[in-house]
């Protein structure tokens, strides 16, 4: 029974496919699963938007939306209807084709990310051997769409936003990849399914998630920072920068195209949260051995939701970074930490079992954190500004 529940979606799919002729089954299976993904994540997106608005409201001692439906739970429906019925305005000077393609490219790329995500035991659409690579490739495509949007709009705000977005996402793509590389080093596989398999065992009641190792924790923190930057979330929301760039690269978008951008952004958030869960938090595996009976997909989506909540929490807390702070942080702190983490992971691998590797690896990382935090990220004290000529 419990097993049945765990595999309910897989069984359901097989049951439906059983009615189809043999030659059709493979293709129909892919289409059905893809349709499920395409339906599920927008629904989660609606939930996340509502959670974000209510959560941010509460953090600012407001109510948040509470008018549409009981406790405002129908607010996303109202928002959806609104954006669907709004006029779609394309600026006269815009490059209409690229302007139209940008949100489409974003949404397509973002949904492609889920193709390789194991969302539960046996619940993966395509079990690629290089699924991590595929994921990052799709993640990098979103930058293209952002730049398309900014460039085709022929608007200075859009272009500035797109420039910022490209500079930022490329800077943070490096730590994002490198923090994933650590996992690849340890598991010896690029397949997300195998990465989860590697984490599903327990020591005592505690799981063997990678986040519970020194290099895993460091990688997890770096991944969380880099993924926040990748999804253009606060405090890395410079590409949008409402207070300075109107809305950044989607200034010139309205109606449903804007909604697509919005959707793409949130679904990308789910994607990176899912990847982070898969890489560091054991994917669909249970957090305690005695909870293994709970269906695996509940754990996966639960972890993703928690991740989303943390994103919202961070958004409610942190102000937006300045461009130079953003770049300094990426290149002077996160990247060196990443490289060190690679070294630490290698050290961990070759020091063999025992407590010594725990001490050495943790000490190395902690030392680097403290030293680099104090040296590289030192707050610079500027004196009063002096003018030589313009007095």
């Amino acid at each position: 029974m419990i097993d049945r529940l765990d595999q309910i979606f897989v069984l359901l799919l097989h049951w439906i496919l059983g009615y189809l002729p043999g030659g059709w089954q493979a293709a129909a299976g892919v289409v059905l699963s893809a349709a499920c993904i395409v339906c599920l994540y927008p629904a989660l997106f609606a939930l996340a938007v509502l959670m974000e608005r209510k959560g941010l409201g509460r953090m600012q001692n407001r109510y948040g939306p509470n008018r549409v439906g009981p406790f405002g739970i129908l607010q996303p429906v109202a928002d959806g209807i609104k954006s669907l019925t709004k006029e779609d305005i394309v600026p006269l000077n815009a490059d209409a084709v690229v302007h139209f393609m940008a949100p489409v490219v974003l949404v397509v790329a973002v949904f492609m990310m889920f193709a390789v995500m194991p969302m539960g035991r046996n619940m993966v659409l395509v079990n690629l051997d290089a699924s991590l690579l595929f994921f990052f490739a799709m993640g990098a495509t979103t930058e293209l769409s952002v730049f398309m949007a900014g460039w085709s709009s022929r608007n200075k705000y859009s272009l500035l936003g797109a420039m910022r977005a490209v500079a930022q996402t490329i800077s943070y793509e490096v730590p994002l990849l490198l923090s994933g590389v650590v996992i690849v080093m340890m598991t010896g596989s690029l397949s997300l399914v195998q990465i989860v398999e590697a984490q599903k065992h327990f020591t005592g009641i505690f799981p063997q998630w990678f986040v519970f190792t020194p290099w895993g924790l460091a990688g997890f923190v770096i991944f969380a920072i880099a993924s926040t930057a990748e999804t253009n979330r606060s405090p890395f929301d410079l590409p949008e920068g409402e207070s300075e760039l109107v809305a950044g690269y989607f200034t010139e978008y309205s109606g449903f195209k804007f909604a697509l951008f919005f959707l793409g952004e949130y679904v990308e958030m789910f994607a990176v949260a899912g990847l982070g869960t898969t890489l560091f938090l054991g994917g669909w595996s249970a957090p305690f051995s005695f909870l293994s009976w709970v269906p695996s997909w509940i754990w996966f989506f639960g972890k993703v939701e928690i991740w989303i909540c943390v994103f919202i929490w961070l958004r409610g807390t942190l102000p937006r970074l300045r461009q130079d702070q953003l770049m300094n942080f990426a290149w002077k702190f996160v990247l060196p930490m990443c490289l060190l983490n690679l070294f630490v992971a290698a050290l961990w691998r070759f020091m063999g079992e025992g407590w010594l590797r725990w001490v050495v690896c943790s000490a190395l990382l902690a030392l680097a954190y403290v030293v680099m935090g104090n040296v590289e990220m030192r707050r610079k004290h500027f004196g009063p500004r002096t003018y030589r000529y313009a007095e």
Binding site: G55, R58, M59, N61, N66, W313, T317, G373, M377
Partner: protein, 217 residues
């Protein structure tokens, strides 16, 4: 250490998040249609016409002098004078407005009409929920819609209304005194002339009463 501030900030927002569910006084939002913030006494939205007594038509203080109509910057007031007269608060017969319309879609709530009115007849209202589905007729208020009692005026602007009442009472007393003096003088004159004609008779104060409402020069 690096990241300390972020943790502190996260703790702060978490405290606010949890606190907003626990203590009601953290949430300062007044949820408008169900809850209402009290209207300030000095609040002003659109003008209304003050009337005394129970009958709005008889008690209107407005005498259709048309000063407000002329002073109104966006010209949103339209007044038609009456042909006949009715007694005002001191009892003097006055013209009254046969028609008094304010187009509140044009009105800019500047209060100039209130400031120029010599009869304390037009005042600012605090009623702000005036939306309607008819953008022309629904926003054109006639004198019946505009007429509101002095009690209402006292309710929305207590301080101002008592000042106005005091001023009116003073004026009324002055007018009465003047009328009385005039009546006294008239009766004294009459008495003097009658005394001259047929001996002295004391001036009857009751005789002055009917003359009270007589128009002054």
């Amino acid at each position: 250490m690096l990241g300390e501030g972020i943790l502190k900030g996260l703790a702060e927002t978490a405290r606010n998040f949890a606190g907003s569910y626990v203590s009601k006084d953290r949430l300062t939002t007044v949820q408008y249609p169900e809850e209402r913030a009290p209207v300030f006494e000095a609040a002003r939205v659109f003008p209304f016409l003050v009337y005394d007594g129970p009958d709005w038509e008889a008690g209107l203080r407005c005498v259709a002098c048309q000063i407000c109509e002329k002073e109104c910057p966006p010209k949103c007031i339209y007044i038609e004078k009456s042909k006949d007269k009715k007694p005002d608060y001191v009892g003097k017969p006055q013209i009254y407005p046969a028609k008094f319309d304010i187009d509140i879609s044009v009105c800019m709530s500047c209060q100039i009409c209130v400031e120029v009115c010599p009869f304390e007849a037009i005042k600012m209202d605090t009623e702000f929920e005036l939306s309607t589905d008819d953008r022309f007729g629904g926003l054109l208020q006639d004198r019946k819609q505009l007429a509101k009692s002095n009690e209402y005026y006292h309710k929305i602007h207590p301080t101002e209304a008592s000042e106005v009442d005091a001023r009116l009472a003073e004026e009324k007393a002055k007018a009465e005194a003047k009328a009385k003096a005039a009546a006294d003088a008239a009766s004294a004159k009459a008495a003097a002339s009658s005394a001259a004609a047929a001996g002295a008779t004391p001036a009857n104060p009751a005789a002055a009463k009917p003359n009270e409402g007589e128009p002054k020069a």
